[in-house]
Point group: C2
Chain length 353, copies 2
DNA sequence: TTGTATGCGTTATCAT
DNA sequence: ATGATAACGCATACAA
């Protein structure tokens, strides 16, 4: 690995001139520029980013802290981050907390967890990253960040009450609303809901979307048509009977797994999904397309969340880190995947309230 | 962010002393050590890794080039990499090539692809990474690396003929062998195969494993029982009839998707999987556990591949980068997931050759 | 247009 | 045991 000094010597100029050429500062004669350029090629010289970084104080690098790489949402979010960063010529220092693997499902209650995060932030800052994106494994309130942060930060797929840290989240309310409006447009009025865990953010927002769609469709909201599962397939299976007895013509499941469970039960009861009864899911997990019939569902804008998060953080960088008091939450819209699990309702006889 | 100089001034010692304390060089009196240590705490000082790196030439950082983060195998492989790196206190600079998104399925034939890889390697080296792990999106021969590499490299989930670059791959042969031995142990003798694309590495190795299991089980290998699909679900569906006509009692599909297709066709023909006929898959994709009945399949050791790859590269680093002429291929074993799709064969009547 | 000199924050060498 | 200082590779202010 040659250094700028060696290039200078080899081409008989000073290091300043070489530096000016590399960084296209002008004020160099065309003649020497070409000559030095050639030497640079020949010796296969690349400037040492570390030295450059030490001097200029910009590393063109951001830190990404992922709660757990192997959780389904993360790869797409990180993919979105990398796409925008590549455009802007930023590199990524990745930290994988492996929270699920270390603490199982309850990591966010662990005492150790906050310390771990702070230590990793410390290390990232020591490496001179210009900003940090924290990527949560599922949406929730995250308050493990130190009071004084030396670099801008944004949280993706979660939010924080820490002032000065923007958040980027799924617009669950919009997604559920759009999906339920679709069900209504297909003639359904009695739409049962198999919700997620009662106090999950996703559950609450999706339920609001459901209610709003009903309102806009002039359909009475019947609380008895909402039943709570726990996101697992089995809970979809378990809650289906209840809704059938309530004479629903469609079931909106708050994730694809529970929709799969509903399929199972419906199948046992000889009710054909997409003909005798409509089913919709949420998340657009891989298996949704393989169900029989393929499941209509709402896709999470994971890639876009990552993309948006990096836009925001690079914007903060450009603004010289001033007036970043806009601790906003940005919502990114979901996109529906219309498949074969929702039938057009023809008869009106089951429509009574 | 205070510097070492400020710490020195604040505690009334020289920077050399502070440095010695930080790096536990000894030759410092207990008294001053404690005093300076306290100041460091108070001022919340962390050494600047960039400056340290410039001076010492070790960044404790490796580069990871992922062909495409969103391909199913990658997150687990990267998770394995991060696990070992965390133990060894190494950080990770991540590059996501996004090859699938940019070039679709044929990226590896693209001219531009090689240049992109070389440019990214260049950038990583400029950042002073100590080594690079290249993670392929699917196993194949990869020869896009520059002749002279300034840092050690290893390829995960693929291999290269470049000398000095070790590879870490799935032991497809072992996996298929073990799975087919299991089928034989369950009494099956006429075991049909729905293979992947004919010239894929995976197909060839898994076929070898199948043949070896047959040999070891004293079962004649009948080439007519092997039919080629294209990894897609539909090709499993399409090839099932042929095997049924050949009177197989079990079908070994070379991936879970094709197994799913076989399920579909079997279902149509009123053959119950796990009772009338056995089906096994490969890869242990998410959907495998949700099939009815849950699919017996062979899990890919993705996490272990990543873990092994980082072990290898950090070993190379320790060896002072000498005699790395061992351009070996390391194979990592697959692990079976026994579920309900394979029945014990009781009657012997269908066993003839 | 080109060269000289200084400093970024750290470690390491050599005095004291 | 502690301190002064050079050096890592680069960018830049200033001099020539």
């Amino acid at each position: 690995m040659p250094t700028i000094k060696e290039i200078a010597k080899a081409s008989g100029v000073s290091v300043a001139t070489v530096s000016n050429i590399i960084n296209e500062k002008g004020k160099v004669s065309e003649e020497t520029r070409i000559r030095v350029q050639k030497i640079i090629e020949e010796m296969n010289y690349t400037p040492n980013s570390v030295a450059k970084n030490l001097k200029t104080k910009n590393s063109r690098c951001i830190g990404v802290i992922a709660e757990d790489m192997t959780v389904f949402a993360l790869p797409d979010i990180i993919d979105g981050i990398t796409e925008y960063c590549e455009k802007e010529d930023y590199q990524i220092l990745l930290v994988n907390l492996r929270l699920y693997k270390k603490f199982e499902d309850t990591y966010y209650r662990s005492d150790r967890y906050g310390d771990i995060v702070q230590r990793e932030i410390q290390k990232l800052v020591a490496k001179q990253v210009e900003g940090i994106i924290y990527v949560a494994a599922h949406e929730r309130l995250i308050n493990v960040f130190p009071e004084q942060l030396p670099v801008p930060m944004v949280v993706a797929y979660g939010y924080t009450s820490h002032r000065g840290i923007p958040s980027v989240m799924v617009s669950d309310e919009q997604g559920a609303r759009e999906l339920v409006k679709y069900l209504i447009s297909m003639g359904h009025r009695r739409i049962g809901v198999i919700a997620g865990k009662k106090y999950s953010m996703h559950t609450r927002s999706r339920l609001e979307g459901y209610q709003r769609a009903l309102f806009e469709g002039n359909v009475l909201y019947d609380p008895d048509l909402v039943v709570y599962g726990d996101w697992e397939r089995e809970s979809g299976y378990r809650n289906t009977d209840y809704l059938i007895e309530k004479n629903v013509t469609a079931i909106f499941c708050m994730n694809d797994f529970m929709a799969g469970g509903a399929y199972d039960r419906l199948d046992e009861r000889k009710l054909k999904v997409g003909r005798d009864i409509a089913v919709a899911g949420y998340d657009n997990r891989e298996m949704a397309g393989y169900e029989k019939p393929p499941l209509t569902t709402m896709g999470l804008p994971l890639h876009d969340i990552g993309y948006r998060a990096s836009e925001i953080i690079l914007d903060m960088l450009k603004k010289e880190e001033k007036n970043t008091e806009e601790a906003d939450i940005y919502y990114v819209d979901c996109k529906p995947y219309i498949r074969q699990s929702v039938n057009q309702l023809k008869t009106e006889k089951k429509e009574g309230v």
